[in-house]
Symmetry: C2
Subunit: 790 residues, 2 copies
């Protein structure tokens, strides 16, 4: 066995590890007597024992070893902690290295600080059991499992000097998100990106079960990681002295390989994907904890998952066992009288920003630089008259994004993410200046594929989301385009990122990061051949449940408003922006000046389509591109039928503007809202998604009871664009009829108009059955506009 | 090279393949001249070309080869098709084998039938491009990718004779769900379960990109699948004759291995997880399609993904190319004059239910048998007076589930699924009669772990959901228990299952299947140590967007109502049931008789807690266990403060009962609703989740404007149970104050009461900061009840 550690170093590293373990156990159990200066009594033990021990000693072990590696090579390294309930470890280690006390001065490097450290853990309003935003050095919340490895990869993209040591729990390794994360190495370029050092922590057990990867053969395990493209190194055992030497050797070897891979790629250029090192670290769950409790194996078993000695008050022997356990770390050898870690151990931690708890990449806001943004007005579609021409809105946004990439090539701080849909979503102009990133085999016949590409495409919404989060959390910028229906795949990841951002609002040392911006396109209304499975506009509802301070939702109806919104989103910080916009050719309504003004308020009256003279019989409101078109067509139908009818058209870009200002910072003032929507006239609202959301957002508005919302009713199939609106009652005829039904002065015309609508829809229905497409008068949008405009 | 196929058989199989390819191309392109009896003209070609060719020839190739295997060994086999847009293939093959025409007689086995077959594809209201519920033989919708392999495993659990041949697209193989699905073999027992034969279809490209797995080395690919625990067989090439022999040999080998694995396990008992065979099938994307179009490689490239010749009308040469392509299959050799497949080819398909399109397992409702259910009343918690005792509701449900397992052991048609949480969610009584299923290594120290277990635990909500869907779709029953927050991980899978069920309502030959029932526990209000990341009650909102016919949501406040609800759900068909119930000790309110009556209506007045004499000053309503407790405590606080105040308590179990009957079949009639909630009194509604949902559900009710809903406001941290309610304004004091603020007769007391509430909350706040737990008077629920009861 190689023995890279001298005896002295090994002893000190072991002592450091014991110190971290001691502090971890202390956090779970103690509320007094933090240095065990007195005999342990029940009064020193927390009355309610909350927390988790199982994963912690392994995390502690890795921390001291990574510290050695950092010091030996002056590494720029962050520690991404996947396993759930690893909180005590990271708190302990950032405390030992000093970072924690710098950020939280009330937790000082003395006995009082230790007391505070212990008591705050899993205490009301205190420190969570998971590695959370409150913990310095973290970019990954350990509560929902499976995202650490994608965060680690996201962190090192475009950070050539950075190494992300990423501990993957063997429990979370069973999740889908983690299982596909290993393939991230096909998108990592050793010449321009940093390195991820994955460490699979095989401690064998989840809450109450063994883990899958701990119960397959060594041969299969090794084959699996070779198959994933890694060169695995195995560190397995339970004897601390042996394990110290093994781990040190493995880390030296891994580091050497990383250096060599990077050297080759950076000197000679990228020449094929290397087999990056990774470590399989098999150690007992609850290592160094009680071997047996009440006659049952505890160390090395799932019984170590939470609190191994849970009945301190009830079972008399448990107090003694706890004291033995704490004393097994020999705290008197680790801390001086004042409670401070001894100097010879302190020197094992790196200094300043080399400390993993203080690495600025783990607090990306401090590194964040504004993007160089082109003037989005330069990409404006010329619109002399509303509806005088068509454009594919997302393609126009693609031109702008192309230049965002171009202007930030030097800064290397902007990437676009999406599941194989950049082209399909018509953002293809970006390929004029960059390619898709790929470090798998590239054939001569491939196009727009390069190890240097800045578009990250993989058929996994999880990977797109996770990489982007990692990229943003380390102080860069990004943009995620996705089919609308399938963004639900990352609902839960969105939740966790939104929660992270919300928590960070109360953590002053966490600096603002760039917002996470989604462009949802290929949306519910245009799935002509994909059909029902691709129709779901519900992500907006999901988003609306999160804190108003964090979330923004935009439905730009045309290209110029989309440009304005995208520009705004790329400048924003600490938000999650959701933009929904179609990719199909569509009529353009606003010139750039109007679009900018419209987006600034978030909603507005379209005077050119209104004839209400300040006193409408009804308001026709719309949000979303297809609803906007159908609303305007409905207005046209109504004007033809009822020339005297006074209609007002209100378009909404920023749907959070509908909410009361007390509920969302974008909410427009009540008087403005009332001026637009009136306080007593019927409002027929055509909305892109599920109608309930508009009711929810307008709930506190004066005219709320008069809002009649048409939207997606979960009806769909493989059919034409217009037929989709008909199936859901969002088409021009249903909308027009809804107006007629609610304007008192038209009461006498209702029956006749209902028949007219039925005839029109029957005519259309017969036509599509015969011809497979929409009636020409419906397909020909010019016809719509000529009339509205007149 | 082995050559298992005789020349004659090879020729006929190739002809059958050509027939399927011909029908696939025909579906994409033709609206007339289906047998190419005339020279092809533009008039024969659909005006709008929708559909996807790329994956289809490979799927067709596999189908004829699996047909041979079925015939050779009289196999019971289903075909699970993962790749997106595989619709044309499965429609073509089920048509060729006769199944399609039996189910859809209008698509007969003649020229007219062919015409209909072609024109209906990707036509408004016609046949989708994905393998969907409309396609016979399918249990997997091909629209959202990544779920085929978990569906296949779910299908074969407890189906020892069944083989699920599962084609995994190399695009979808990049998804997280699929990447972890390969590990399903650690949960498959060859003695009692059937077999999955995964076939990775490496056709190399997604929409616009190569796939990851197509661009790693052979060595890595082989290692990956060996690491996943399979013995991969490779079928690679493009020459059809060679490929026929290779595929036939690979299938013979795979089948032989499956037979041998099963023989050993069934004769000698399970003795270790075998290396199941799988096939890597590398063939060109768009195989046999146009090699080049407009000078660009098309066959064997992503350009074959959709319609390879897309501009038939615009580019004159394309029509000729299309004709050449169609003729390359020599349809005149395949179909007779009448348009029927020639008899020597027809004989290649199996007969009757051996046809993969007619296998009853793919229409599980026809195999479904009712569960043997114990009388849930036997598990009743005795409740003499409301609140006279506590119980852990989910543990009581666990007793019932234990006996469900016991009573159906022989039938082998019930399993419980959950991500390592059965014990944590206190369903542990089930382990008295069964274990967790596991076929990885089992150690002596393991407990409740066996290859014969009926509890499926893996730390992947995706796998739990996918296995369960596969199990239900093949005619069995199941139950999924999950932490509430993390069920969002499968939001998108839920969507697709709900859409599948909705579509099946209009497919008479699809027989009803058992409902998918979720028990969401470890919920938002009791995450004392898990904190903010574990707090999200939004799944209910997500569910509420789907069709009312499909979804049911229950919030039983105690054990007896939970029993009644679980029993009801296990008897139901074609629904998705969501049950939210806590696992912590909680007061019990209803005896079994009351609980059954309460659950039958879905909501009701709790007379024992009300004192309104038919004319309340306010209604205190509640849904969910924690809100129910806080509401009753609020009533107690109010009675003490205002003895003359007349309060009514309404508890809601089935929140869909709140909706108007026109919106949901469970919606109670307006007059009943009005009798309970009044039409003009304030209703203070304490709700488990995000408040907006209650407004949404009650939107059409007369008293809606007087509903004031308290619920989760996305505020949380590591804290005590009661403090969580305080943070979100759902605690007894906030609720009581909300009542006082809205009852006109109490106007004079508002200020004083507000001060009282503030004092109470401040007192509590000080106490938890000092003691780390809730005030004794709040922890001691007895105190609450004594007062309410008095």
């Amino acid at each position: 066995m190689t023995a890279p550690l001298s005896n002295d170093l090994l002893e000190r590293m072991d002592a450091y590890w014991r110190a971290a373990n001691y502090l971890s156990v202390g956090q779970i159990y103690l509320r007094d007597n933090p240095l065990l200066k007195q005999k342990l009594t029940l009064a020193h033990v927390k009355p309610r024992l909350l927390g988790h021990w199982g994963t912690t000693p392994g995390l502690n072990f890795l921390y001291v070893h990574l510290n050695r590696l950092i010091q030996a090579h002056d590494l720029n390294m962050i520690y991404v902690t996947g396993p759930g309930h690893g909180g005590p470890s990271l708190v302990a280690n950032t405390y030992l290295e000093g970072t924690y006390s710098e950020i939280y001065p009330e937790v000082g490097q003395d006995e009082a600080g230790l007391m505070k450290l212990f008591t705050q853990f899993s205490y009301p309003g205190g420190v969570p059991s998971h590695v959370a935003a409150e913990v310095p050095g973290s970019i990954n919340e350990g509560g929902e499992l499976g995202y650490c490895l994608m965060h680690a990869y996201g962190a090192v993209f475009d950070n050539p000097d950075l190494i992300a040591a990423c501990v993957v729990g063997d429990g979370e390794a069973e999740t889908g998100a983690l299982a596909t994360s290993w393939h991230s190495n096909k998108f990592l370029n050793p010449a321009r990106d940093g390195a991820v050092l994955p460490i699979l922590h095989l401690n064998g057990y989840k809450i109450a079960n063994p883990t899958v990867l701990a119960r397959i053969s060594h041969e299969e395990l090794e084959a699996l990681f070779r198959g994933y493209g890694y060169g695995p190194l195995f560190v397995e055992g339970s004897d601390p002295r042996q394990m110290h030497q093994l781990m040190a050797a493995a880390l030296d070897e891994a580091h050497g390989r990383i250096v060599e891979i990077q050297r080759q790629a950076r000197n000679a250029g990228f020449s094929g994907r290397p087999a990056w090192p990774m470590i399989v670290f098999r150690s007992p769950k609850g290592w160094t904890g009680p071997r047996e409790v009440d006659g049952k194996q505890t160390e090395g078993s799932w019984r170590s998952h939470q609190v191994p000695l849970a009945k301190i008050a009830e079972v008399p022997e448990h107090l003694g066992l706890l004291e033995d356990w704490l004393k097994s770390y020999r705290p008197w050898e680790l801390f001086d009288e004042s409670g401070r870690l001894r100097a010879d151990l302190r020197s094992l931690a790196p200094q300043g920003e080399r400390r993993m708890g203080a690495n600025p990449h783990a607090n990306g806001g401090v590194l964040l630089r504004d993007l160089n943004l082109p003037d989005f007005r330069h990409y404006a579609v010329e619109v002399n008259n509303p509806g005088s021409q068509t454009a594919e809105s997302t393609r126009v946004a693609g031109l702008y994004l192309r230049d965002v990439i171009k202007l930030n090539v030097e800064e290397r701080n902007f990437r676009i993410f999406g599941p194989d849909e950049t082209e399909s979503n018509r953002l293809s102009p970006v390929f004029e200046v960059t390619s898709r990133a790929f470090t798998g085999e590239i054939l001569e016949t491939d196009t727009q594929l390069s190890p240097n590409g800045r578009v990250m495409e993989v058929l996994s919404e999880h990977l797109c989301q996770g990489w982007l989060e990692g990229y943003l959390l380390t102080g860069r910028h990004g943009f995620f385009s996705c089919y609308e229906a399938f963004i639900h795949i990352v609902d839960s990841m969105f939740n966790q990122h939104a929660k992270w951002l919300k928590v960070c609002q109360d953590i002053p040392w966490r600096r603002p990061i760039a917002s996470l911006t989604y462009l949802l396109t290929s949306h519910v209304w245009r799935q002509d051949h994909n059909g029902f499975s691709h129709q779901d506009p519900g992500f907006i509802d999901h988003v609306a449940n999160k804190k108003a301070d964090i979330i923004r939702v935009y439905l730009p109806p045309d290209a110029n408003s989309l440009l304005s919104v995208v520009d705004h989103c790329l400048r924003s910080r600490d938000y999650i922006n959701v933009i929904v916009a179609g990719k199909q050719p569509q009529l353009q309504w606003m010139d750039m000046g109007s679009a900018v003004a419209h987006c600034r308020t978030g909603l507005g009256i379209w005077e050119w389509a209104s004839n209400d003279d300040g006193d409408p019989d009804a308001v026709v409101a719309c949000a979303g591109d297809v609803p906007t078109m159908e609303s305007l067509a409905a207005v046209m139908v109504l004007r033809e039928a009822f020339p005297a009818l006074r209609l007002r058209v209100v378009n909404v870009v920023d749907i959070m503007a509908l909410q009361a200002p007390s509920q969302h910072p974008h909410g427009v003032a009540d008087d403005l809202f009332d001026r637009m929507f009136t306080t007593d006239r019927p409002v027929i609202f055509a909305y892109h998604g599920y109608p309930a959301l508009i009711h929810r957002l307008t709930y506190r508005r004066a005219n709320h009871a008069n809002f009649h919302v048409h939207g997606y009713q979960e009806e769909g199939t493989t059919t034409t664009p217009f037929d989709m609106t008909v199936l859901n009652g969002l088409d021009r005829f249903h909308l027009a009829r809804a107006v007629v039904d609610r304007v008192p002065s038209l009461a006498a015309s209702r029956e006749e108009f209902a028949r007219f609508v039925e005839d029109k829809l029957a005519e259309h229905d017969a036509y599509i059955r015969e011809n497979g497409e929409d009636l020409p008068e419906i397909r020909n949008w010019r016809w719509l506009i000529r009339e509205v405009d007149a």
